[in-house]
C-alpha cells in the first residue's frame, strides 16, 4: 500500500464527529470517559449519575447482573459473583493465590482458569466482556450512537497473555479496540496535557489489584516511556485482605472457620475501615457475620500501617528497579504522579514522597486519570483531535525463545520501545531433521522453567539437510498494542510458519468464535457480508491512495511501464469491486499492493527527506536520556 504521510497538526476530516472513548478496566472499578467537542475530558455516568462501575459480575441461571447490583450480592452469593476478575485474566489455576479457591469453584480450561457458576462455566474473558458491554452501552447512551472504537487500558506490567485476553474480552463485547494502552502512560497523558508538563516524570499507579511504576519523558506532545516495572498481583485489595485477616484474628476466628460468605462480610468491613482511615486516625468496626455473630474492633491508623507496611515496601522494589533501568536517581525527576484509588492512603503518599524527595502530584482524581488519558488518545486515533500527540510505550518483560538445555534466549529486551522487531537465526542439530519446535517465552529469568510460556509451534517440512545446514530465521514482531507475533522461515527452502501469540493461557480463535455465537452480549453477525464490506473498503482505499500518488496532481515517481502494469491491475480491481466476491477482491488488492511496493518505497524516501528538513525546526529541547 502506498505510504501516506499525514501532516501532524492537520485538521480532522470534516463531517460527523466520531464517537470514541477511553475505558479503564480496573480490578475493583471500571469507568469510561470521553472528550467533549470543547476539548474537555468527561467521565461518563450511568442513569443514576454514578461514574464508577464495580467490576463485579453475578451469574444466575436466567440473568446476569453487572456492576452495583452484582456488588450488593457478593457477600450473599460469593461463588456466582465474580469480583476482581482482572486478577484471573490470562492466568492459569496454578498462578492464583489460595484465597481464590476458597471463594470460587475453579476449573482448568485450555490454560486459563475458568469459573464454575450456576449459569455454566465462564472464562475470565467472558466475565470481563460482561463489564465492558455495560460500559459500551453506557457510552452509546450518553453519546447518542454507536461507538467507533475505544482505547482500553491495561497495567503496564501485564504480559502477553493478559493483554491478549483483554483484547479478546473487548472483541467479545463488540468493541473495536483502537489501542491497548498502559495505565500509567494514560495517566501521564491526562496530567501532561493538563499541565503542559515537560521533563522526566514517574507515575506510581496502585490500583485495586495491580501495581505499576512507569518513568516517562514528556516533551512537546511526545510521551516516551523510558522504563516500567510493577506487580500484577498487588493492589488495594491486598490491604483490605490484611484488615479482614486482622478482624478475623481479633474475633478469634481461624482461617478455616471463615466461609466464603463471612469472608465477604469481613472484606466489606475492611474496605470501609481502610477508606475511613485515609482521613481519620481510628475507626470502630462493627459487623455481623452470617450466623449472627458480631465482630467488633477498633483499628487505629498506626496499627493499620503496621500490618500493611510490607505491602507498601513491596511497591518500592519495582520503583527502584525501574529507576535503575532508566539509569536515573530518584531525585532527578521533575515530578511524581499518583494514580489509582489505593494511593489515597496517607502511608503511600509519605513513602513515595520520601523515596523521590518531593511531594507527589494528586490534582487529578486518582480514579479518573487513567480513563481520561485513554479518552484523549482515543480522540486522536479516531481523528477528532488535531494536535499531534505521540505515545511511545515499551514492553514490560523480555521476550525470548527456548534454546538447548532449557535456556531462555532473549530476543527483545524489556523496556524496548514498541513497535519493535528482532530476528535471530537457528539451525538443526540432527542430520535430516525436518521440523524445528519453537517455544516462545516471556520473562527476565535465564531458565525457561522460570519464565512464562506463551506459545509453542512447529516449523515443519524442512528438506533433509546435514545437521547445522538449515538456517531458520525466527522473527518476533511486537505491535503498538504490545502484542507479539512470531514467524519462522527456513532460508534455503522458504518453508514458513507463523503464529500470533495466542498464548497457552489465552483462548483460541475458535473458542472466541464459539463464545461470540453463544453469547447474548453480541448480536449474531453475517460473517460473509462483513468480509465483503471489509474487502471493498480496503480495495477502495487502495485505489484512492493510488490516484493520489500517480493521478493528475499526483507526485509522480513512476515510469510508463510501471504505470501501465499498475493501471491494468487497478482497473481489474475496480471491476471486481462491483461484484460480490470478497476473496477475489482481496486477491486483486494484494496484487496491486505488491505492484506498488517499490513506488511506495520511493515515496517514503522522499518523504523522509522532507521530514528531515522539518526536523531541523525542532531544536535541541528533546533531550537525550542517559540510557
Amino acid at each position: 500500500m502506498l505510504f501516506e504521510i499525514r501532516e501532524p497538526g492537520g485538521v480532522a476530516p470534516s463531517g460527523e464527529r466520531r464517537r470514541a472513548v477511553g475505558i479503564d478496566l480496573g480490578t475493583t472499578y471500571s469507568l469510561v470517559a470521553t472528550v467533549d467537542p470543547d476539548g474537555k475530558g468527561r467521565v461518563l455516568t450511568d442513569e443514576e449519575g454514578r461514574w464508577l462501575l464495580p467490576s463485579v459480575v453475578r451469574y444466575q441461571p436466567e440473568h446476569t447482573a453487572v456492576g452495583w447490583d452484582a456488588w450488593g450480592k457478593r457477600s450473599e452469593d460469593p461463588a456466582n459473583t465474580i469480583v476482581s476478575v482482572k486478577r484471573f485474566v490470562g492466568r492459569g489455576r496454578a498462578d492464583l493465590p489460595a484465597a481464590a479457591e476458597r471463594t470460587y469453584r475453579l476449573a482448568e480450561g485450555g490454560g486459563m482458569v475458568r469459573f464454575k457458576t450456576c449459569a455454566g462455566i465462564k472464562s475470565p474473558v467472558e466475565v470481563s466482556a460482561g463489564i465492558l458491554s455495560v460500559l459500551r452501552a453506557r457510552a452509546e447512551r450518553e453519546l447518542g450512537g454507536d461507538l467507533e472504537g475505544a482505547v482500553i487500558t491495561v497495567p503496564a506490567y501485564f504480559d502477553e497473555s493478559q493483554r491478549e485476553a483483554t483484547r479478546d474480552a473487548a472483541r467479545l463485547a463488540g468493541i473495536n479496540v483502537l489501542r491497548l494502552l498502559s495505565e500509567p502512560t494514560a495517566a501521564a497523558v491526562a496530567y501532561g496535557l493538563d499541565r503542559g508538563s515537560e521533563g522526566l516524570y514517574a507515575v506510581y499507579d496502585l490500583g485495586g489489584g495491580t501495581f505499576d511504576i512507569s518513568i516517562l519523558r514528556l516533551s512537546r506532545g511526545v510521551f516516551e516511556v523510558i522504563a516500567t516495572n510493577g506487580h500484577t498481583m498487588l493492589g488495594g485489595d491486598d490491604f483490605d485482605q490484611r484488615i479482614a485477616d486482622w478482624l478475623a484474628t481479633k474475633a478469634g476466628l481461624a482461617h478455616a472457620d471463615v466461609g466464603p460468605v463471612d469472608a465477604g462480610i469481613l472484606l466489606d468491613a475492611a474496605r470501609t475501615a481502610k477508606e475511613k482511615l485515609s482521613s481519620e486516625d481510628q475507626v470502630a468496626v462493627r459487623t455481623a457475620l452470617s450466623e449472627g455473630r458480631m465482630v467488633e474492633a477498633r483499628l487505629t491508623r498506626a496499627e493499620f500501617e503496621h500490618i500493611t507496611a510490607d505491602l507498601v515496601e513491596q511497591t518500592l522494589i519495582p520503583v527502584r528497579r525501574a529507576l535503575r533501568d532508566a539509569n536515573l536517581s530518584p531525585g532527578s525527576l521533575d515530578g511524581v504522579v499518583l494514580v489509582g484509588g489505593a494511593t489515597r492512603m496517607p502511608r503511600i503518599r509519605r513513602a513515595v514522597a520520601r523515596l523521590f524527595g518531593r511531594e507527589p502530584l494528586t490534582d487529578i482524581d486518582p480514579d479518573k486519570a487513567v480513563a481520561l488519558g485513554a479518552a484523549i488518545q482515543a480522540e486522536m486515533l479516531i481523528g477528532n483531535r488535531s494536535d499531534s500527540l505521540l505515545l511511545l510505550d515499551v514492553i514490560p518483560l523480555s521476550l525470548g525463545l527456548e534454546t538447548m538445555g532449557g535456556l531462555a534466549e532473549k530476543l527483545i529486551l524489556r523496556n524496548s520501545t514498541i513497535p519493535v522487531a528482532q530476528t535471530q537465526e537457528f539451525t538443526t542439530f540432527k542430520d535430516g531433521q525436518s521440523a524445528i519446535s519453537i517455544h516462545v517465552v516471556q520473562g527476565e529469568r535465564e531458565l525457561v522453567a522460570d519464565c512464562r510460556s506463551l506459545a509453542r509451534f512447529e516449523l515443519r517440512g524442512i528438506p533433509p539437510m546435514p545437521a547445522g545446514a538449515a538456517r531458520v530465521r525466527v522473527t518476533f514482531q511486537v505491535d503498538a498494542d504490545g502484542l507479539l507475533s512470531v514467524t519462522a522461515r527456513e532460508q534455503h527452502s522458504g518453508v514458513e510458519a507463523a503464529i500470533s501469540v495466542k498464548p497457552s493461557y489465552g483462548l483460541t480463535d475458535d473458542e472466541i468464535g464459539e463464545m461470540l455465537r453463544s453469547s447474548l452480549l453480541h448480536a449474531r453477525e453475517d460473517v460473509e457480508a462483513r468480509a465483503l464490506v471489509e474487502a471493498r473498503v480496503e480495495g477502495e482505499r487502495m485505489l484512492i491512495a493510488l490516484e493520489r500518488a500517480i493521478g493528475p496532481g499526483g507526485v509522480g515517481f513512476i515510469d510508463e511501464t510501471e504505470k501501465s502494469t499498475v493501471n491494468r491491475l487497478a482497473s481489474a480491481l475496480r471491476r471486481l469491486l462491483g461484484e460480490g466476491d470478497a476473496r477475489r477482491i482481496r486477491q486483486a488488492t494484494e496484487a496491486l499492493n505488491r505492484a506498488t511496493e517499490s513506488l511506495a518505497a520511493r515515496m517514503m524516501t522522499t518523504a523522509v527527506r522532507e521530514v528531515l528538513q522539518d526536523a531541523s525546526k525542532f531544536p535541541s529541547a528533546w533531550a537525550e536520556g542517559k540510557g
Binding site: M1, R6, V222, I418, A601, R609, L612, S620, E624
Partner: protein
C-alpha cells in the same frame, strides 16, 4: 538488518546525519521524533489494513535504527558493518594475550571486593572501568572518524564490548547489594 527494504538508505541517512561515530545525540533524538511522528501506527489507526501494516513496519524500522545509533557500541558495530567489516567474524576472535589478562584482572578484583562486602571498593572499580571505557571510546572516535582504520577499530570495539559486559555485571551486582541494603 534487512528487516525492511523500503528505505534504500542507511540509518544515518534515515535521520539525516553524517555517517560518523561521533554523533549529535540531540539531533538524532529530534530527527527520530520527527520521523515517528509521521509513520507511527497511531497516525494510521483508521487506515486500511495494508497501510497499517506498512506503518507498523516503518515505525519498527525507525525504532530499530534509533536504538542502534543511540548506543555507542552498536553504532560502532553498525558503522563497521556499513564499511564491510564484520566484527563478529573469527578474524578478530583472537585477542591479544595482554587483553585477556586484563579482563581476568578486572573480574578478579570485582570478585575479591564482593567477597569482602567492600562496597567502596566496588565503586572504585566502577570508576576506573568508566575511565577506561571512556578512553577506549575516544580512541574509537579517532580510528573510525579520522584514521578510518576499520580493522583496528573492530579490534578496539571487541575490547570495549568485553569491558562493557564487565561494567554491566558490576552495575547489577552493586544494585543487588544496594537493593538488599534498602529493603
Amino acid at each position: 538488518m534487512q528487516m525492511n527494504a523500503w528505505v534504500g538508505e542507511d540509518y544515518f541517512a534515515l535521520f539525516g546525519l553524517a555517517r560518523a561515530f561521533r554523533l549529535d545525540l540531540q539531533a538524532l533524538a529530534s530527527a527520530y521524533r520527527g520521523l515517528l511522528d509521521r509513520c507511527h501506527p497511531d497516525r494510521f489507526a483508521r487506515a486500511s489494513d495494508a497501510e497499517r501494516r506498512r506503518a507498523l513496519e516503518n515505525a519498527t524500522y525507525v525504532n530499530h535504527a534509533y536504538v542502534t545509533l543511540r548506543r555507542p557500541l552498536e553504532r560502532a558495530r553498525y558503522l563497521l558493518e556499513l564499511e564491510g567489516v564484520d566484527c563478529l567474524s573469527d578474524r578478530f576472535a583472537a585477542e591479544p594475550p595482554e587483553f585477556l589478562v586484563e579482563q581476568m584482572q578486572w573480574r578478579e578484583a570485582i570478585e575479591a571486593a564482593r567477597n569482602n562486602g567492600d562496597c567502596a571498593g566496588l565503586r572504585e572499580i566502577g570508576r576506573r572501568l568508566d575511565e577506561k571505557c571512556a578512553a577506549l571510546e575516544s580512541e574509537l572516535v579517532r580510528l573510525l572518524d579520522e584514521d578510518r582504520d576499520f580493522n583496528r577499530a573492530a579490534k578496539q570495539l571487541r575490547m570495549l564490548s568485553f569491558l562493557e559486559a564487565i561494567r554491566r555485571d558490576l552495575g547489577r551486582l552493586a544494585q543487588t547489594l544496594g537493593e538488599a541494603d534498602a529493603v
